[in-house]
Symmetry: C2
Subunit: 126 residues, 2 copies
DNA sequence: CTCGAAATTAGAATAATTCTAAATATATTA
DNA sequence: TAATATATTTAGAATTATTCTAATTTCGAG
């Protein structure tokens, strides 16, 4: 692991914020001002390939990078805010249906976050 | 509903192939050779907004458009092929946890499709 | 028919990501 | 240590899906 790979891994794992490549780049530049965005992308895809982090693909937003520890995502349909949620594991059901060919799953749950709920009950949505 | 909106809706619903905007454009041009890609995008987002079709966002692939009838997606991790799968509905569990704020969910299941499985068992993966 | 709104068009603009080729750093081994 | 090989990083160009813009066309209501 190179210093950049290690540091990018640390940044992703330390954050619970689902950072974009660009945010990671900004963070990394604090320590290594000369680093390039290409290096960030290179290392992010290397880390994804080896399974040390995972990529979260969303609509209308650049990809985000996340720790691999098992959890699902909750996305506010109004403001787009992304947070984590723990749900019953679907693995058993999927293994029964797909056998050894099953690899993993990605579950996204859409909802209205408390902030947006508050906003829309106090005044009409713009 | 304009003629384009209607026809695009029909194309998406008639296909079980999860078409990209560009594929829909190609299909639509058979009947309306003068149509522009912008019109396809305009109508696709209108149809998504009204909930008549849904957009499927994937990694390393342009967005695809799909009928709304409830079903989940199965994605081959090797070749990227997308197909449909029917699974137990998670709605009950999600409503219990999130209440009225719950809107919907999007589940993607990753596996190795039969074709790729066959290929990799007969010879070593390149 | 005429007006105005909505839809459509072509093409430019945008933005995230990937690619390319040169430069740099690191490791290997003599 | 020097010579060489290999891997990483860099800057910036290229790519690609999608959105935006402004002009044009279509079409229904009066």
């Amino acid at each position: 692991m190179t210093k950049y790979e290690k540091k990018i891994y640390d940044i992703v794992n330390a954050s619970r914020k689902h950072l974009t490549a660009d945010q990671i780049y900004t963070e990394l530049k604090k320590e290594y001002p000369a680093v390039s965005l290409a290096t960030v992308y290179n290392n992010l895809s290397k880390l994804c390939d080896t399974g040390l982090i995972r990529k979260v693909t969303l609509e209308d937003s650049p990809d985000r990078y996340d720790r691999t520890e098992k959890h699902d995502h909750l996305i506010c349909q109004k403001c787009g805010k992304l947070s984590d949620i723990c749900l019953d594991d679907l693995t058993h059901q999927l293994k029964t249906q797909l056998g050894d060919n099953f690899l993993s799953y990605d579950l996204k749950v859409f909802y209205i976050c408390p902030d947006c709920r508050k906003r829309s009950s106090s005044k009409t949505t713009v």
